[in-house]
């Protein structure tokens, strides 16, 4: 299954969850938020939310700014 994580194509096993997509990028779970196709997925739902082919996953955190 092909999904886009932070603008880059990733190959994940069919039925992979949001949690697996996050782990593809970082081990950090605090201070991180996820949107799938522009919908925020609460941290508590990462393990139970499966991804679908061609989903756009954005994994964001706070950086210096403003």
């Amino acid at each position: 299954m092909r999904v886009t994580i932070n603008g880059t194509d990733h190959e994940l096993p069919a039925g992979a969850t949001v949690a697996q997509a996050v782990r593809a990028l970082t081990e950090r779970t605090t201070g991180v938020a996820v949107a799938v196709n522009d919908e925020v997925i609460a941290r508590g739902a990462w393990d139970s939310t499966p991804l679908s082919e061609a989903d756009r996953v954005e994994v964001l955190t706070a950086v210096q700014g403003g």
Binding site: N6, G7, L25, T26, R28, G31, V32, A33, V34, A35, D38, V40, A42, R43, E58, V59, L60, T61, A62, V63, Q64, G65, G66
Partner: protein, 251 residues
């Protein structure tokens, strides 16, 4: 006790620091300490697997409240999504709403900003919108429930100071929510002027983080904000065209 109250929360410091532009997290930490700030902005960006250390660790260590911004957003929709992500990532419903109109000026887009503010207030956010120095817009944003307004002194990072002090004074007169002068501060006298004009607080980043000695400039800004606030409360003398002798005129 002269406290700054935003969205029901009380603060002693009237200097809000941004974190953008610091050459390293170490320099940033020293500057934040020296500034005495109790609120500091951060931006939301894609996780960088190669990043070492986090600005959040610095803020946690110093016990500073995190104020996420929506910097980089050009539409209300983008800003609302960014605010929701920030709330999820950082556990705060406060947001510095920033919707810019173009890359060259980074001036705030009033229409998109107003639209986003309405939606975020409805979702329970404590919204602090970054706006031009427009008293009418400030008033409208207060009416729809924004917790503060943040008019610019001049464009972001320009260091041009407060280009239209009269508009800032009109905003101070127009609204009852805190007015936080945001953007354009170049040096300590700019920050003092903002407070003398009646602003409730000053937000700055580049003026400190890009100074040759950030820690020293942070301390200067802290003192300038305190001095400007005291001068405002003390009440300045009226300006006159001619001299008024301060020594007795009798021989």
């Amino acid at each position: 006790m002269d406290e700054l109250i935003i969205g029901g929360e009380k603060f002693t410091s009237r200097l809000i620091m941004g974190t953008g532009g610091a050459p390293s997290l170490e320099v940033l930490e020293q500057a934040l300490k020296a500034s005495g700030t109790e609120i500091t902005t951060v931006a939301m960006r894609r996780v960088d697997p190669k990043a070492r250390g986090s600005v959040l660790d610095v803020l946690n260590r110093l016990g500073i409240k995190v104020l996420p911004n929506t910097a980089g957003c050009y539409t209300a929709g983008d800003a609302v999504l960014t605010a929701r992500l920030a709330r999820e990532a950082l556990g705060t419903s406060w947001v510095k709403l920033e919707v810019i109109s173009d890359e060259r000026t980074l001036l705030p887009d009033p229409v998109e900003t107003f639209d986003a503010a309405e939606r975020l207030v409805a979702e329970g956010f404590t919204v602090l919108p970054y706006i031009g120095d427009d008293p009418a817009l400030a008033k409208r944003l207060e009416q729809i429930g924004c917790a503060a307004v943040m008019p610019l002194g001049s464009p972001i990072g320009s260091g041009l100071g407060i280009r239209n002090p009269h508009s800032i004074e009109l905003i101070v007169e127009a609204v009852n929510v805190p007015v936080i002068l945001d953007a354009g501060i170049g040096t300590a006298s700019d920050a003092a002027l903002a407070m003398e004009l009646g602003c409730d607080a000053v937000l700055l980043a580049s003026a400190v983080t890009r100074a040759q000695r950030p820690e020293l400039m942070a301390a200067a800004m802290r003192d300038a904000v305190i001095a400007g606030r005291a001068a405002r409360l003390a009440g300045r003398i009226p300006r006159r065209r001619h001299a008024v002798a301060s020594s007795p005129t009798e021989p």
